[in-house]
């Protein structure tokens, strides 16, 4: 549905997007991940036909975005990072205008506008000026604008940024409902959002596509070990040496002392070996109660930091501390 091959975008001498090749299949939700200034927005703008690539080919629904822009744009609904809204228009007028630009007319237009307003939940504010509604509603109106042409491809640049948690959940649910019928590319800073919404993740750093796979596969390929986080009551050194004595242990880190004689440890072990049972018995034998134990799979955060940071060791430690 979306096809990028060898796309390069230069601003003067600065390379914003460097040889990105990417396929998004019909009905797939792809998450674009990357630190600020990595080239996510630029990539999305190129796909949406707002910026031309310096070189390379971009096709949406089989149409070249550069050579057949008007046809290609009919298939695209695009929500930029800042929803492009006219503050002095009413919600209804704005979405109607967007529908007209997409080529809708007459009864079709009216029905479609009403349906979309219903879908994103802005019907009750439809006669208010966009300048007077809250940020969450504006985001929805922006989404409505992207949806009104019933596009096969949705490009959403940070769709949940600036929303409150309740609104974030609603917008995510909305995107989930839209999927299946449509192909979606979305970018986000919020990593759990990407892992919960997207079938596939593409990680971009400094304009380069550095990894691209399902969140699960990415974790698998990067994680060479199993990890367990546990809180144990007992003198730090003794607990440490008991853990150390178990077989299959690769690395132990003390994350912090929570109270006197209560510490949190991160234990890394060989991937095929489940050490949870032996940990339990070893602690029980020594009379050190385990207050908490959880296995920590490499989250998208870790993968992300692992990939985009130049010093991977430090990065993965940082990632764990956040857990």
């Amino acid at each position: 549905m979306i096809e990028l091959s060898n796309v390069i975008k230069k601003y003067g001498n600065k390379i914003a997007v460097n040889r990105i090749t990417l396929f998004v299949r019909n009905g797939e939700i792809l998450g674009l991940l990357g630190p600020n200034g990595a080239g996510k927005s630029t990539t999305m703008r190129i796909i949406a036909g707002y910026l031309p690539p310096t070189s390379g080919l971009v096709k949406v629904a089989g149409y070249d975005v550069v050579k057949q822009p008007v046809t290609a744009k009919k298939y695209i609904g695009y929500l930029p990072e800042n929803p492009p809204l006219y503050k002095d228009m009413t919600v209804n007028d704005y979405i109607t205008f967007a529908a007209e630009l997409k080529g809708l007319k007459g009864k079709d237009k009216v029905n479609r506008v009403n349906k979309v307003m219903d879908e994103v939940g802005v019907t009750h504010v439809k006669n208010r000026l966009i300048g007077h509604i809250s940020r969450g509603f504006r985001q929805r109106v922006g989404l409505a604008q992207a949806l009104v042409g019933d596009p096969q491809v949705l490009i959403l640049d940070e769709p949940t940024v600036g929303l409150d948690p309740q609104q974030i959940i609603e917008i995510r649910q909305l995107i989930k409902n839209l999927a299946g019928k449509r192909t979606v590319i979305l970018s986000s800073h919020i990593l759990p959002e990407v892992s919960s919404l997207c079938h596939r993740v593409a990680i971009i750093n400094k304009g380069n596509l550095i990894a691209e796979n399902t969140p699960h596969r990415l974790a698998e390929s990067l994680m060479g070990h199993q990890e367990i986080v546990l809180q144990v009551k007992g003198p730090k050194d003794k607990v440490y040496s008991v853990i150390e004595g178990l077989s299959g242990i690769k690395n132990i880190t003390v994350n912090g002392i929570l109270e006197e004689d209560l510490c949190e440890y991160t234990v890394q072990s060989e991937i095929e070996k489940d050490i949870r049972e032996s940990l339990f018995y070893a602690m029980a034998e020594n009379g050190f109660p385990i207050l908490e134990m959880k296995s920590s799979f490499m989250s998208l955060e870790d993968i992300f930091l692992e990939l985009v940071t130049e010093e991977p060791a430090i990065a993965s430690q940082k990632g764990e501390k956040q857990l």
Binding site: Y50, L51, K74, P80, P84, Y86
Partner: protein, 236 residues
């Protein structure tokens, strides 16, 4: 064509829901009415030349105030991204905006029909001259707006758009001073470019194709350059 109308409709609605259009209209018509009545009372001649000469100068200020937001405003607000990622071409966009501005000034122009109406009620003015005056005025406004749109297409800042189109229009207007004081090729070149030279003949009741060609050229060249301006800014 339908998309051009959609853009125009949105702009026209925008004009009439914002105070700007009313203020601009009030200033134009208020000053116009003042000039009209003062000339009428002092000279007692059924003649519109003075009013429309003055209106042309007022519009040098007024037209940029309206055109500045058309493209530069979209860019400033970030809505240009919305327009340019919609299935609409840049010529459709520019024409839609241009026609909207033209429509607004057409409304203003229709409101000035009061002046010839009063003249016709009180005396017997030359109807031919009234017709050519309005023809000239319409072409003048159309050219002003095209230049205003061009300046608006070259920047993402409304104030810069307004000041620069004001500068260009004023310069074109005062070229006649140069042509009056310098002889030779430079003088005649300035005369060719000066808006007031071309506009003046219409007010005298003369329809000269040179003048019509002059205004239409300004309109076409400005609109084409604005299309290039928008695509250059978007595609760089």
């Amino acid at each position: 064509m339908r998309k051009i109308i959609s853009v125009s409709k949105k702009e026209i609605k925008g004009f009439f829901t914002s105070p700007l259009a009313y203020v601009v209209g009030a200033v134009i018509l208020g000053l116009g009415g003042y000039f009209f009545s003062v000339t009428l009372f002092t000279t007692r001649i059924a003649d519109l030349t003075g009013v429309f000469m003055n209106l042309a100068v007022i519009l040098i200020f007024a037209a940029p105030a309206l055109t500045m937001r058309l493209l530069a405003g979209e860019e400033q607000e970030g809505t240009m991204e919305f327009l340019l990622t919609s299935p609409i071409t840049i010529p459709q966009l520019i024409l839609g905006k241009y026609l909207a501005a033209l429509f607004y000034f057409l409304v203003i122009t229709v409101l000035t029909f009061v002046y010839p109406g009063i003249l016709l009620a009180l005396s017997t003015p030359d109807k031919g001259v009234i017709f050519t005056t309005y023809l000239g005025f319409f072409l003048l406004v159309a050219a002003y707006l095209a230049i205003g749109i061009l300046c608006s297409s070259l920047t993402g800042n409304q104030v810069i758009a307004s000041i620069s189109s004001f500068g260009v229009l004023l310069l074109l207007w005062v070229f006649s001073w140069l042509s009056g004081n310098i002889s030779g090729p430079l003088g005649s070149f300035a005369k060719t470019l000066a808006i007031s030279e071309h506009y003046g003949d219409f007010l005298r009741g003369i329809i000269d194709t040179t003048h019509i060609v002059y205004f239409i050229s300004i309109i076409i060249v400005s609109l084409i350059l604005s299309m290039l301006g928008v695509s250059k800014r978007a595609w760089s």
